[in-house]
Subunit: 247 residues, 2 copies
């Protein structure tokens, strides 16, 4: 679903950061009331390639052909791959994000929700979902469905390059309130890292999003029956990038 | 009212900033859903005298004798005045704030809510309420009552040095959502700047606080019948410090 402008807290945050990236904070509220504030987040959205985390730079080695940048944000990945000569389509469900992509020079940027992807955008060789954007797949059930659809929208040797986080093995996640939230998720039949969050910016409250974080093992479970397989993982302290190929 | 530890978002923010002031954001949520995030706020709470805003430094010239620092936060005012040789009592309704004051060397720091101030703390010559702490007075009615009480708890030539903001004349406040909020306040019989806010930090949601911002004219209105008068104002671009003396 496209985000209506009056609820586009994420896009408004990116537009503000485009004016002055040093002064913008990304505020993420989780359904249990936990609130996170990131100063580094907005900076990363605008970072040039040399300032990216190492595993993001490494991930670019697996990119080939026509690229879909899903959840493009401020367009850093699209801009980099465009410069390297790839055909890139950048999509985001946030109109503000797509405006920022365009202003920064992304040639083909469109307000399209990941779940609404169709054949009209063409066939892709690589789908990039950095910045924990594996979360765009939503619940495991929705993810299986989307993965089958992406199988048809991509070339035979296509790759999905998606970032996620193993919430049960990472340091920061071990705070008692995070552990409690993971436990409640499991109790109600969700993955431990299946978070429900929304962005807040000034007067604007974004829509709730189901945005799961999955371990490599959980990812492999989701891939069963989709004709995709986990080919590589590129690790960092906090997150990992999965390189997913067709079986 | 003292803030119970499980709701002490403000104190937890200060404790985190004591560890690493560069990495902490102060998140203030207003009752209409507006959310503000300040990176500078936590830095100011820990700033040494030479880094204070000019009108805060000027305000210190009006301090004499025994001082009550009301809403002491991380104790920057109490520490400065203590160094200058004043007897200082620092109070805050946040247990975390008072812990930070003590760890930083404030000699007399107590968890006391401003509205609960009594004779047991002694008689003061100066009451300091910087950082928009005029807001601690609460509604105009509550403020009048507290001012009469403070008259009895202070020496004959005592001063109250309190910071506030004229919300109707300041630049930032002119955003449409702020104007709308001020209008709604007036419609329900409140001062335009009579904001209701709470602090959020990680999993912790602070209690709602009525925290009015008043213009000098509104302040003079509140002082009527309290045997206090507005003697000086020290202006800045954003806020002003009122020096209030007995009539």
């Amino acid at each position: 679903m496209k985000v209506p402008p009056e609820r586009d807290a994420y896009g408004q945050m990116l537009l503000a950061a485009l004016e002055d990236p040093s002064n913008v904070v990304e505020i993420v509220e989780r359904e249990d009331g936990f609130i996170g504030a990131s100063v580094m987040g907005p900076k990363l959205y605008f970072a040039p390639f040399r300032r990216w985390p190492a595993h993001h730079r490494q991930a670019m080695r697996y990119v080939r052909g026509c690229v879909l940048d899903a959840g493009a944000g401020a367009g850093r990945v699209a801009l980099h791959l465009q410069e390297r000569g790839h055909d890139v389509v950048a999509i985001d469900n946030s109109p503000g994000a797509i405006e920022v992509c365009r202003r920064r020079g992304v040639r083909d940027a469109r307000v399209v929700a990941f779940a609404d992807l169709g054949r009209s955008l063409g066939t892709f060789d690589t789908i990039v979902m950095l910045g924990n954007n594996f979360g765009l797949f939503g619940s495991p059930t929705a993810a299986k469905k989307s993965l089958r659809r992406l199988h048809r929208l991509t070339s035979d040797d296509a790759r999905i390059i998606a970032e996620s986080r193993d919430v049960s093995s990472r340091g920061r996640a071990d705070a008692p309130w995070h552990a409690e939230y993971r436990k409640r998720n499991v109790e109600r039949g969700r993955l431990p890292g299946q978070i429900r969050i929304r962005i807040r910016f000034g007067p604007t409250i974004g829509p709730w999003m189901d945005y799961p974080m999955v371990s490599p093992a959980e990812l492999e479970e989701i891939l069963i029956g989709t004709r995709w397989r986990l080919a590589h993982t590129l690790d960092s302290d906090d997150t990992y990038v999965a390189v997913i190929e067709k079986t």
